[in-house]
Amino acid sequence: MIDKIRSADRRRVGMLTAVGDRWRALPRWQQGIGLVAFLAILYYLPLLGIPGLTWLRTDSIEGGNNWAGVLFVCAIYVLVAIGLNVVVGLAGLLDLGYIGFFAIGAYSVALFGSVNSPVVKWIQQEFDLPPTWAVTWAICLFIAIVLTMISGVLLGWPTLRLRGDYLAIVTLGFGEIIRIVARNATGLTNGPVGISAIPGPEGAPSADNKVFGLIDAKPWYWLAITFVLIMVFLVRRLEHSRVGRAWLAVREDEDAAAVMGVYPFKFKLWAFAIGAALGGLSGFLFGSRNAFIDPTQFNANLSILFVAMVVVGGSGNMIGVSLGAVLLAYLPERFRDFADYRWLVFGLAMVLVMILRPQGLIPSRRRARELKDRAAEAEEVPAHV
């Protein structure tokens, strides 16, 4: 049985590599056309009405969720996966508290953008501003990114010197601390009551909003996917820059990297800060679209889900992690019968992938080679634990 899975998996990977090689062999203009077509499909997705493909829509089943809404969630999860991939896949640091950054992003727009937040009320009082005043959406975006980056550095500064598995547990604790603070610090966050009236690009949610309303999710999806594309481009540039090479070097052998003049701590901290900012951006979009947040939306299970997206998809490979995110967000919505069991399936998927194919469904080629090297070493030294 296991052998059958293994050989089927090997054929699948063979096909994937063949497709990848053919794509790279295409002339530039054909690649360009392919990309444009792909982008067009991405933007067309929420309108999906091609006969024969409508079964893909989540509202094609009874009681299914709004299709564009599900796509929006997929998009912000892809954003999370790309951010976490910088930390886990590129820099090789396991972060189990990513939900903390997501929550900080969501709370930034809530605390500064909503008239119902204690922070905005305090500012209104201190500076004699009218009770309708709040920070505009675009500035909240800026605040969210700055705050998450700062919190990434604050978390990373003391903990990044720890060994990898300790770091993972400490970050798990960090995610819980953020949630508990959001729940208990009622003077700052309204506690379990939550914060409502979180603004969108057109200001606080109201019936007058023409584009970004509460009901129609399509514009939100288009907004999110635009952010995703920009971030994919930026992270790709980063990956192939000096910083990206430094991350790979640190991941593969920290001591060797240090000897070669790459200061591991500095680059790990960068990875943490950039990953945190992407998580914050995603949380920002989530809060803004939801218009209401409370601490129960940020529990530790989501951190595990985020890690599952990255490792199942293929850590280190942006296409892989995006696919992982889309699968894990979309499948439970479309196949409702299994929605109750989704966490079980995610857990099983993590275990199976780690045992059978630790490099993930669509592996990064470099990562696959690293793991193969280690396995070969194991055969040379059978006595080693």
């Binding site: 990898g164 598995d165 604790g173 819980e176 595990i304 966490w343 099983l348 993590m350």
Partner: protein, 327 residues
């Protein structure tokens, strides 16, 4: 800040903390044993404990235990509970090792892959007891699996009574039993590791796996042994938990596991006596902290302790290493 409350009832808070920490310490032993030998954080150990509490629950339900049984029966129920919990938890720990960790060890997988696997396993167990078993066994064992993810109460085996008072510190019978039972289990484990032939094998593999293998120690057997031992200790913790708190749920492992791990790190992971010290210390710190601030900050205190210890003394209070625990 409630300084007066803390100082005024310092003795009471210390006793409460000790009896709380004793349970952390028993669970911490599982982390410490596995880490001492394999240098790996068995994240799924919290679920080993959770399975133990369910085993106790099902046993007591099947026996038809009523609240406050006569003392003879109560002792019988507790002893049976210990046996069943130890078998269930030890078996779960062993299954984890055989199914998940052994194939990874063969491939010399990096530590993070072990950790991710363990997290996946933990999720699988939580869902198994929260979602799958209620569907399958809901009709057969309604008390344990009536509704998905429910909190289930257990019968009171021993009624809580104040045994004696010193100053304004009241010590209850349950606190005393928990403390004594936990320390006895740990003394037993300490004796086993330090004085027996099998224990010598464990220490040898922890010190140097290659040399131990050359000296004829069966490494795989030692690894299985430490998982089972850790599981048995978690089973004992599960029984004490059931007796003291009288409820369980599929998700109780998560926070408790993190705290037990904190206790293990605090005492020096890989160090058996360190786990005891770390557990008791963490229990006290938590109760003091909850009194000083408010009880809803309790979980934060444990995490802050973990971060501070890892930053300033990552080897813990007593230092790491199972091998050098006693020469």
């Amino acid at each position: 800040m409630h300084f007066d409350e803390l100082i005024g009832h310092l003795g009471q808070h210390t006793v409460d903390g000790l009896s709380k920490g004793a349970i952390y310490a028993l669970i911490a032993l599982g982390y410490t044993l596995v880490y001492g030998v394999l240098r790996l954080i068995n994240f799924a150990h919290s679920e080993v404990f959770m399975v133990g509490t369910f085993a106790v629950l099902i046993l007591w339900n099947q026996l038809g235990v009523e609240n406050n049984p006569p003392i003879g029966q109560a002792i019988l129920f507790l002893v049976l509970g210990l046996l069943v919990a130890a078998v269930a938890s030890g078996g779960t720990a062993l299954a984890l090792e055989r199914i998940a960790y052994r194939p990874l060890r063969r491939k010399n997988a990096p530590p993070l892959i072990f950790l991710i696997t363990a997290i996946g396993l933990s999720l699988v167990f939580v869902e198994l007891f929260g979602q799958v078993l209620p569907k399958l066994l809901g009709g057969v064992l309604p008390a344990a699996f009536g509704r998905p993810r429910q909190i289930v109460g257990m019968p009171t085996i021993i009624e809580q009574k104040t045994l004696f008072t010193i100053g304004n510190t009241a010590i209850t019978n349950i606190q005393l039993i928990v403390l004594i039972a936990a320390v006895a289990m740990m003394a037993l484990l300490d004796w086993f590791i330090n004085r027996t032939r099998y224990g010598r094998g464990v220490r040898a593999v922890a010190q140097n796996p290659e040399t131990a293998a050359l000296m004829g120690v069966n490494q795989e057997r030692v690894i299985m042994l430490i998982f089972v031992l850790g599981g048995i200790m978690a089973g004992a913790a599960a029984l004490l938990w059931s007796m003291r708190f009288g409820f369980t749920q599929n998700s109780i492992g998560f926070v408790l596991g993190l705290k037990a791990f904190t206790a293990a790190v605090l005492g020096g992971i890989g160090n058996l006596r360190g786990a005891l010290l770390g557990g008791l210390f963490l229990g006290i710190v938590e109760v003091y902290g909850a009194t000083l601030f408010a009880s809803n900050w309790e979980d934060v205190i444990a995490f802050v302790v973990l971060i501070v210890v890892l930053m300033f003394r990552p080897t813990g209070l007593l230092g790491e290493s199972l091998g050098r625990a006693r020469a």
